[in-house]
């Protein structure tokens, strides 16, 4: 089985680059990070990622939760949220939208690793093919 492909949707360039570097070091395939809904939808079609790491607040009119819903509806790709919002309302909205995981900022390498591994593991179980 080839390495899993993970798309990063994050509008802070430094944070996006850090995540990308961490994921590359962990052996994943990582296309260039994107910062808005439209780019994210295009990148999903272009790269067919196994997982999307999604910031809730991104550039443009459409937020991360709505973008994640569109991606899931169109392609069924699992999404792990990545945000500094930890208030009950945001978490409840994210959960209701069917997130595969939720990672709070600031996070460190090992937090990122375990969230991704868990999401990929659950996805593998959900689709036995």
């Amino acid at each position: 089985m080839s390495a899993a492909c993970i798309l990063v949707v994050e509008d802070e360039a430094i944070i996006a680059r850090d995540i990308q570097a961490t994921l590359l070091r962990l052996g994943y395939v990582v296309p260039p990070p994107v910062a808005c809904c439209e780019d994210a939808l295009r990148a999903v079609i272009a790269h067919r990622p196994d997982l999307v790491l999604m910031d809730i607040r991104i550039q443009g009119e459409v937020d991360g939760i709505e973008t994640a819903a569109r991606i899931r509806d169109a392609h069924g790709t699992p999404v792990v949220y990545l945000t500094s919002y930890s208030d009950a309302t945001t978490i409840a909205t994210a959960k209701a939208s069917g997130a595969s995981g939720y990672l709070l900022k600031p996070f460190r390498d090992h937090d990122l690793r375990s969230a991704i591994e868990l999401a990929l593991h659950n996805r593998a179980r959900a689709t036995p093919s």
Binding site: I14, D18, K105, R108, D109, D111
Partner: protein
């Protein structure tokens, strides 16, 4: 005997002998003089036929007592005269050998006088009362008003007799009032209604509470209605004004409450937004540090960068904890220290697998400027222990780190102790070998407290500082 029958013939009182069947067998001429009926008419019908219908029940009861052997003394009832009027008779009677010997006296005059006295008494009292007072007959026709009524309505007694009071009422209140009064005098239930009555002097309608109670005789029949009308206009206006004021007040209170709630919500979301930005910025700093660490070839330099990252995260965690506390200004140290330990354990899970960290804290809430140094102190001491305490361990003894945050009197103490190799070689009070322990000293001073290092079954550091920081103290 003939002498005595002369008394019978000429007596002023009514004498009669009645049998048990309800007829008078013999009566004297006084009966005819008093009632107008002939002797034959009176003896030809049962005596009950002549008794006023309202008095029949009591009269029959008295008759039963009489024939049962009791004497009747001063029993009164009304007898119908030939001219259809009634006269009050007062009876004394005794039964002998199945016949009743009855003596009746005409007391009609006394009754009229008594009624007149009662009426005068009622009228005197009525004039003394501050209300309008009236009386009515059992058929609902009003027959008396006190002066206050005439002064208020400007009407004459002739105008307001019977149902003549109607023009005084407000048009909207007239029909309910008639209905209510009719219901009352027909049923005998108390009358009670609030209506507007027109005042003659200025033409204004003022609210009155009108009430009436029936006055009954011994047989329970209504003989009179006694009524009052009390001016409650001022009261009603005051109540209405009060109700209006209360309603306005309530409206203002709820409007203000809504305003405050909105402003409070605004502030809360603003504060949450600030914490969100702080955490996002700290993430950026953390990302910069890990990007830099990956570029660095020198192992020591790389470790230092990761230490800094740990410090940044211990501060970021405080913001996360604030976010979750009820009070957005203070951190629950109990909650914080457990989250901090979990974070440190995750980042050191690789290199030091065996160490067990045990954290205890009193329920202490600290403001952010006290909590930040405290968080950094715990972070330094725990990471220091994880890095150095068990370096030479042979792996047999369980490795333990204990954290205690206590409130003792006016002070707060932070204790971090391990069962490792002690501070020997780690602490150089004069020199500056480890940045971590220097930070602990500096931060303790910032908290206006002190740090003590000891080796006692391992390394043991106690930081003590006053719970309340006084402005201006060194």
């Amino acid at each position: 005997m003939a002498d005595f029958s002369r008394f019978f013939e000429h007596a002023l009182d009514l004498h009669g002998i009645a049998n048990v069947e309800g007829h008078f067998r013999r009566i004297n001429p006084a009966w005819q003089r008093t009632l107008g009926w002939t002797v034959d008419e009176l003896t030809g019908s049962p005596w009950l036929d002549f008794v006023h219908p309202d008095d029949r029940k009591l009269t029959l009861e008295a008759g039963s007592r009489l024939f049962a052997g009791a004497s009747i003394v001063s029993f009164e009832n009304r007898y119908r005269c030939k001219d259809a009027s009634y006269r009050w008779l007062q009876w004394h009677a005794e039964a002998v050998g199945g016949e009743a010997y009855c003596t009746g006296r005409d007391v009609t005059q006394e009754h009229l006088q008594k009624d007149a006295r009662n009426q005068r008494y009622v009228e005197n009292m009525a004039e003394a009362l501050p209300q309008i007072v009236w009386t009515a007959r059992p058929d609902g026709e009003l027959d008396y008003y006190n002066e206050r009524w005439f002064a208020y309505t400007g009407m004459t007694i002739e105008q307001t007799q019977g149902w003549g009071w109607k023009p005084v009422l407000h048009a909207d209140d007239l029909q309910p009032c008639i209905d209510r009064w009719t219901e009352a005098y027909q049923s005998g239930r108390p009358y009670d209604i609030e209506v507007r009555l027109k005042r003659a002097c200025d033409g204004l309608y003022r609210w009155h509470l009108c009430r009436a109670l029936p006055v009954r005789d011994v047989s329970g029949s209504i003989v009179k209605w006694f009524g009052t009308c009390t001016d409650i206009d001022d009261q009603r206006r005051a109540q209405e004004a009060l109700r209006e004021t209360q309603q306005q007040l309530e409206e203002r209170v709820s409007a203000r409450t809504a305003e405050l709630a909105a402003s409070n919500e605004q502030k809360t979301s603003l504060l949450q937004e600030v914490h969100h930005r702080v955490k996002n910025n700290l993430q950026m700093i953390s990302s910069l540090l890990s990007l830099q660490a990956r570029q660095t070839q020198n192992e020591d330099a790389c470790a230092n960068l990761l230490d800094i990252q740990g410090r940044v995260h211990s501060i970021a965690l405080l913001h996360e904890c604030l976010y979750h506390s009820d009070d957005l200004g203070r951190v629950d140290m109990h909650y914080y220290v457990h989250r901090l330990v979990a974070m440190i354990e995750r980042s050191y899970a690789g290199p030091i697998p065996g160490a067990h960290i045990d954290a205890i804290s009193d329920r202490i809430h600290l403001s952010l400027d006290t909590a930040v140094p405290c968080g950094l102190i715990v972070n330094e001491l725990v990471t220091n222990a994880l890095k150095h305490a068990f370096r030479d361990a042979n792996g047999t003894a369980p490795q333990e780190i204990r954290i205690e945050i206590r409130s003792v009197g006016d002070d707060i103490t932070i204790l971090v102790a391990d069962n490792g190799s002690g501070f020997a070689g780690r602490v150089d009070p004069a020199g500056d070998q480890t940045m971590g322990l220097t930070l602990v000293r500096d931060l303790s001073r910032q908290l206006r407290g002190r740090a003590e290092f000891a080796t006692l079954n391992g390394a043991r550091c106690t930081v003590t500082f006053p719970a309340v920081r006084r402005a201006g103290g060194q």
